[in-house]
Amino acid sequence: MLTLGSLYALIALGYTLVYGILRFINFAHSDVVTFGAWTAFVIAGALGWAGTGSPVFAMPVVLALAMAASALLGFTIERLAYRPLRRAPRLNVLITAIGVSLFLQNVGQLDYTFGTQPQRMPRLLSESALFTIAGVRVATSDVVLVALALVLLVLLQWLVFRTKLGMAMRAVSWNEQTASLMGIAVDRVISITFMIGSALAAAGGVLYGLRYHQLNQTADAIWVLLGLKAFVAAVVGGIGNVRGAVAGAFLIAAIEMFGAAYRSPQMRDVYVFGVLIIVLLVRPAGLLGNATVEKV
């Protein structure tokens, strides 16, 4: 559950960062997750790390490279597809995001990119039990994944709330025009936000691959669903709110896992989306968001 929660948190942060600044739902985000996972697979293959025999530093290296590649992808997407539409109606940006998503899904399935067959992600982490709590075997990989996610989350927290860049990001999210008048290079801040979000998405994708081993082809519905649930987590926590996204992610993961375990495993998606609708009805701004009243 913690693993799933940290997975959702990493992906949800990308949605929330972009929404916080540009106020649109980045539908291409789940495809960046996919891209990150597949890039990690390709890199691991290229470096010859295929399984248990691989060195300890294999995972960090693969993760870092995949995150870097995805950051580059995020930058390119923002620059080519979203920046020309900065002043267009939001619906257009949304459709463009869908276009980008379709594009990435289908480019990823070409023979010379990732192919049309699902693959097995190499096991770069040991899966032997590290310790046992209350009869539950906790694998080393789970511990590493959760720790890694937490480190990334703390890093992001520091970045957003303790650095000049973070201050600029928050300023742009508050009011783009004013921020621009205050001498903040708005376009650059947006680019960096996209890169950070995409890097976190890649981390999420790699963690997903390491945890579940199965890498479906890029246009498979499973990636869309993963992205949607992370998005739900971001909305439940209060979209545009960094801490909210993390809280929402763990909440959604808990509801999904407990619902699946104690009620019916087939209905897990219903619980997730049901929680979404209930939260939106009761607290439209999300659990940690503050409601804003639109004025003339």
Binding site: T76, A81, L91, L228
Partner: protein, 405 residues
């Protein structure tokens, strides 16, 4: 609601009945002349195009006129489709004693289909009311998110229904009220009669005419102008005395109704297996794309886009690997170069063709400017990345150098 004094009651009745008669005649001509002329392959296209138009125009009412972004149109389609399919399948066994097509053109079986499609539409409209009433009070993206969630929930719920569609004998033995849970589950609701085939596009095109007619009448009515006002500026519309939630909910229900009808038609088309996986998020996106490409608020534009989006993938079937990529690129380029869609808010006959010419003349230049961005991006990334990373890590303020537009 209606403000202006209309012509006499007789005239107004004539004015509302004549278009319906024309619609009937057109649909009949589609059936008797066009469908027999063009053969099965293009007949199938004809039916597919018709269903795409019903779905696109119906979404256009809420998306184009009212400017509310719904991502759950396939969910309403599923509600209508499954309702209609269940009525037709179990109904024709109960009434006619067979699950095959019963009766010929306009025969009892087809009338059952008509009733089932309308019932599906009503079911979808009720679902639309349930979803729309709470979420349409909120502004902007929340409707998109709630409808998205709704669509997914519907899909999963249908997947949980019983896999086994009861056989004819079983149905005959059971009372009517026990027949509700066997909708085929994840495997799909198969085995029912498929009334709509390449030779029988009548019902599809009848509903095409009806939905276009309704959308047209709405667009140029008091209600449609309210919706357009809501779309342009909701706060201003409210200040003008428009009950925005009410206007939006009624548009949303209307849209859901025709989505349900479209789903009913889709469920009875030859060659379609009614599976929840086909009525998910992706299908909603497809319909949104039709509306946006055609122009939000333009009925004829949406029709053109529905034709294009349905036919082009079939024509380019041999490049199957690349056609989706090209499709996606076309979508992105369209949004950048012509953000208002094909026709914008206008109808086909309202276009100023000189504008089209100007737009076409300037398009290559704008395309070029966008393409020039590509190398600039690559150079920019390589040049700036190390500096930016350093600046980020040391917390130093970024120095100001201007970006290329």
């Amino acid at each position: 609601m209606s403000g202006q004094p209309g012509p006499g009651a007789v005239m107004s009745t004539v004015r509302s009945i004549v278009p319906l008669l024309v619609a009937l005649v057109l649909a009949y001509l589609m059936q008797t002349v066009v469908a027999t002329m063009i053969g099965d392959f293009y007949g199938k296209m004809l039916v597919d195009v018709g269903i795409a138009i019903v779905l696109g125009v119906s979404l256009g009412i809420v998306n184009g006129f009212a400017g509310q972004f719904s991502l759950g149109h396939a969910g309403f389609m599923a509600v209508g489709g499954y309702t209609a399919a269940a009525i037709v399948y179990y109904g024709s066994i109960k009434l006619f004693g067979t699950k095959a097509i019963y009766g010929g053109f306009l025969g009892p079986g087809e009338l059952l289909l008509l009733g089932a499609c309308l019932a599906g539409g009503v079911a979808a409209a009720i679902a639309g009311w349930l979803v729309g009433l709470p979420s349409l009070r909120l502004r902007g993206d929340y409707l998109a998110i709630v409808t998205l969630g709704f669509g997914e929930i519907i899909r999963v719920l249908i997947q949980q229904t019983d896999d086994v569609v009861l056989s004819v004998e079983k149905v005959k033995q059971t009372d009517w009220y026990v027949l509700r849970d066997n909708l085929g589950g994840g495997l799909g609701f198969i085995g029912g009669p498929r009334y709509i085939d390449p030779k029988n596009p009548f019902w599809v095109w009848l509903f095409v005419a009806v939905v276009c007619l309704v959308a047209y009448r709405v667009k140029y009515s008091n209600q449609g102008r309210q919706l357009l006002a809501v779309r342009e500026n909701e706060i201003a519309a409210e200040a003008m005395g428009i009950q925005t939630t009410r206007a939006k909910v009624s548009a949303f229900m209307m849209s859901a109704f025709f989505a349900g009808v479209g789903g009913g038609l889709y469920a009875h088309e030859l060659g379609n297996s009614l599976r929840p996986a086909d009525l998910g998020f992706q299908r909603s996106i497809d319909i949104v794309i039709i509306v946006v490409l055609g122009g939000m608020g333009s009925i004829s534009g949406v029709c053109i886009a529905a034709i294009g989006v349905t036919l082009l993938p079939e024509i380019f079937r041999e490049f199957s690997e690349y056609r989706m990529i090209v499709y996606a690129l076309a979508l992105i380029l369209m949004m950048i170069l012509r953000p208002q869609g094909l026709l914008g808010l206008k109808e086909l006959w309202e276009i100023d063709w000189r504008d089209v010419g100007r737009s076409l003349v300037s398009a290559p230049g704008r395309l070029l400017r966008w393409l020039v961005g590509l190398p600039v991006v690559i150079v920019g990334v390589v040049r700036r990345l190390p500096r930016q990373l350093r600046a980020t890590l040391t917390g130093r303020e970024l120095d100001d150098d201007e970006d290329a537009p």
